[in-house]
């Protein structure tokens, strides 16, 4: 748990980087410091482990005044990852990962085991990579090692300064997903700095939006998107905030039962009749055991053909954990406006349609405060 009380930072040249910041990050919470550059988000984060000494106020880490602790001891108990990674080029991957355990004088065996464990956790083959040097890794792999290193001695708190900043968008999104999975397992208290609103919405349990050293709004992503506190927040999250809100919902939250499922052996004409009576354009074909095979239109159904021959195989399918924004773009990309939701065993468990998403958006819009609109008057 991290608590900031009236924290302020004034540099010797008189610039006030942070003004009277009071907030609390609860145990196991993923808190994102968000804001334009120069808003004081990085300064705020670095004051937590005393890399930047604070001018006024108090910071409590697990209830203890951080200033009163031995600085190096405090930092060894807090994981630290930065945008430029800063891997030690003269140390192997294992030595890099176990930097803090080395400082804490862990025995050799234990360190080796920990390095293997963490490499597996961040999705890298420990046998292949453990004795390599940072220069032998790709940018994405280096970022992974940076994350593994900040978890080195299993600290309860992590400070991360745009840890996925310096990599290409595809790798970044992959690393974000993986890190969320890791966080679901390890449940650390995290202070995470970014200027990317999408990253903040995707990663954060709470978002602290800052501007010119002041905390503007501190809320969970849904509240931030749904009821922005003022004009600045509204502008910062952008005009598409309703669309961004889709990211907060997952397919499994809103998916519906498929309207009609058809088994392989059924009679085509009977299926056609059923579809016509229910005014359905599409139905879904599944095998015994519920494995999804593809889509059927009533126009394609013909007496002389077996159902198997007329299916349209799915171009894309989604998992129950797919965020709605991704699901929406998948739907836009596929020929059929309906998306099948499959579980890990390829079993169909539901569908998403434009209608469902429109309903969700409508709900969010009504939660939103109505804005006066001049054209209507």
């Amino acid at each position: 748990m991290i608590k900031l009380e009236h924290v302020g930072k004034t540099y010797t040249d008189g610039t006030e980087a942070v003004k009277d910041l009071t907030m609390e990050i609860k145990q196991g919470e993923f808190c994102v410091f968000l804001g334009p550059s120069g808003c004081g988000k990085t300064t705020s984060m670095k004051m937590i482990n005393c890399l930047i000494p604070l001018t006024t106020g108090k910071i409590y880490v697990d209830g203890v005044d951080a200033v009163k602790l031995d600085q190096n001891k405090l930092r060894r108990g807090i994981g630290y990852a930065i945008q430029n990674i800063g891997l030690f080029p003269h140390r192997t991957v294992a030595e890099n990962i176990t930097t803090v355990p080395t400082l804490l004088k862990w025995p050799k065996q234990k360190k080796r085991k920990r390095a293997e464990e963490l490499l597996n956790l961040v999705g890298m083959d420990s046998k292949t990579f453990i004795d390599r040097y940072p220069s032998e890794l790709s940018g994405g792999q280096q970022q992974r090692i940076g994350v593994a290193r900040c978890l080195g001695a299993d600290p309860p708190i992590l400070l991360m300064d745009e840890p996925f900043g310096a990599i290409d968008p595809i790798t970044r999104s992959k690393l974000q997903d993986e890190f969320l999975k890791i966080q679901a397992k390890i449940k650390k208290t995290i202070a995470f700095v970014t200027h990317d609103i999408n990253e903040a919405i995707k990663m954060g349990d709470t978002i602290a939006l800052m501007r010119q050293g002041e905390l503007v709004q501190y809320a969970d992503p849904a509240t931030l998107l749904g009821s922005p506190k003022n004009e600045f927040v509204r502008n910062f999250i952008g005009a598409d905030r309703v669309l961004k809100g889709l990211r907060l919902l997952k397919a499994k939250d809103v998916m519906q039962e498929p309207p009609l499922t058809v088994k392989v052996g059924e009679n085509p004409m009977q299926v056609k009749a059923r579809m016509e009576s229910e005014h359905l354009r599409w139905s879904m074909l599944t095998e015994d055991g519920g494995h999804f095979l593809g889509w059927i239109t009533s126009d394609d159904l013909h007496e002389s053909k077996s159902i198997r021959d007329v299916i349209t195989p799915p171009t894309v399918t989604a998992s129950p954990d797919t965020p709605l924004n991704e699901a929406l773009s998948m739907m836009l990309n596929s020929a059929i406006g309906t998306l099948a939701i499959l579980d890990d065993d390829n079993r169909m468990i539901g569908v998403l349609s434009f209608q469902i998403i429109r309903d969700v958006l409508g709900e969010q819009a009504t939660n939103d405060q109505p804005e006066p609109c001049k054209e209507d008057e």
Partner: protein, 246 residues
């Protein structure tokens, strides 16, 4: 392999020429320098270089390191400026000035060489420490390394190859400068060269010049090996990767 071959050939050539000239016995009315005297002059030469170099390392590395610290940053432009400009002063002029200030002899020569050898060491230590990526230092500090640990575990190992390259440069230059120091009565191989020039007997000049060259080559190779040996493996891997990318 090729470079070692070249090295061996050069060394053998210089030593061979020295032995040949020594075997002449006498040229006209002049006797050439006896073998024992060449050996003792070489030892003396090495001694001057070693003492000056050791002092330069002891003084140069701390000065170079301290100029990178925040507390001393106000003097570092001056220091580095002096180190750069100082190296442009020709060795002969440098030795002359020292002799004028401190008089002739061994001590003056060692002091002159020491000052001259300190410059590249200061400069390279400064450049080496400054070349360490600030992100690497920030990460080290953020994970709880003390100032001393950041220096001893991160900065110095990463700067080491550059510092040793500075020592290597200054040693090789010093072997030559020590020969010039023969002019102010410091002894060593320079004294033999001076004698030869004074009586205009070229074999005697070569008796001093060829061992000086051989010494410079040998020390350069030795310190090159040390540089290779003391470069952390990770840095070698990094350089190789950069080479392949080009």
């Amino acid at each position: 392999m090729k470079q070692y071959m070249m090295l061996a050939i050069l060394l053998v050539a210089f030593l061979g020429v020295t032995i040949w000239m020594t075997s002449l016995g006498s040229v006209g009315i002049f006797k050439v320098t006896p073998a024992m005297k060449i050996v003792s002059a070489t030892v003396r030469h090495l001694q001057i270089v070693a003492v000056a170099e050791l002092l330069a390392i002891i003084v140069g590395i701390p000065i170079g390191f301290l100029s990178t610290r925040r507390a001393f940053r106000f003097v570092s432009p001056v220091l580095i400026g002096v180190a750069n400009v100082g190296q442009t002063v020709p060795t002969l002029a440098f030795i002359g000035i020292t002799a004028a200030l401190l008089g002739m002899g061994y001590t003056a020569a060692v002091i002159a060489l020491f000052v001259y050898a300190t410059l590249p060491i200061v400069r390279n230590t400064y450049a080496g420490i400054r070349s360490v990526d600030p992100a690497v230092k920030e990460a080290a500090q953020g994970m709880g390394m003390s100032k001393w640990e950041v220096t001893s575990r991160i900065e110095l190992p990463l700067a080491r190859p550059i510092i040793i390259a500075g020592i290597r440069t200054s040693t090789v230059v010093n072997v030559g400068t020590a020969a010039v120091a023969g002019m102010i009565g410091a002894g060593g191989l320079g004294a033999i060269i001076m004698t030869g020039l004074a009586v205009r007997v070229m074999p005697i000049v070569i008796q001093g010049a060829a061992p000086t060259a051989a010494l410079a080559i040998a020390l350069d190779a030795l310190l090159g090996g040390a540089e290779e040996w003391m470069t952390p493996r990770g840095l070698k891997v990094m350089k190789q990767a950069q080479w392949q990318q080009q």
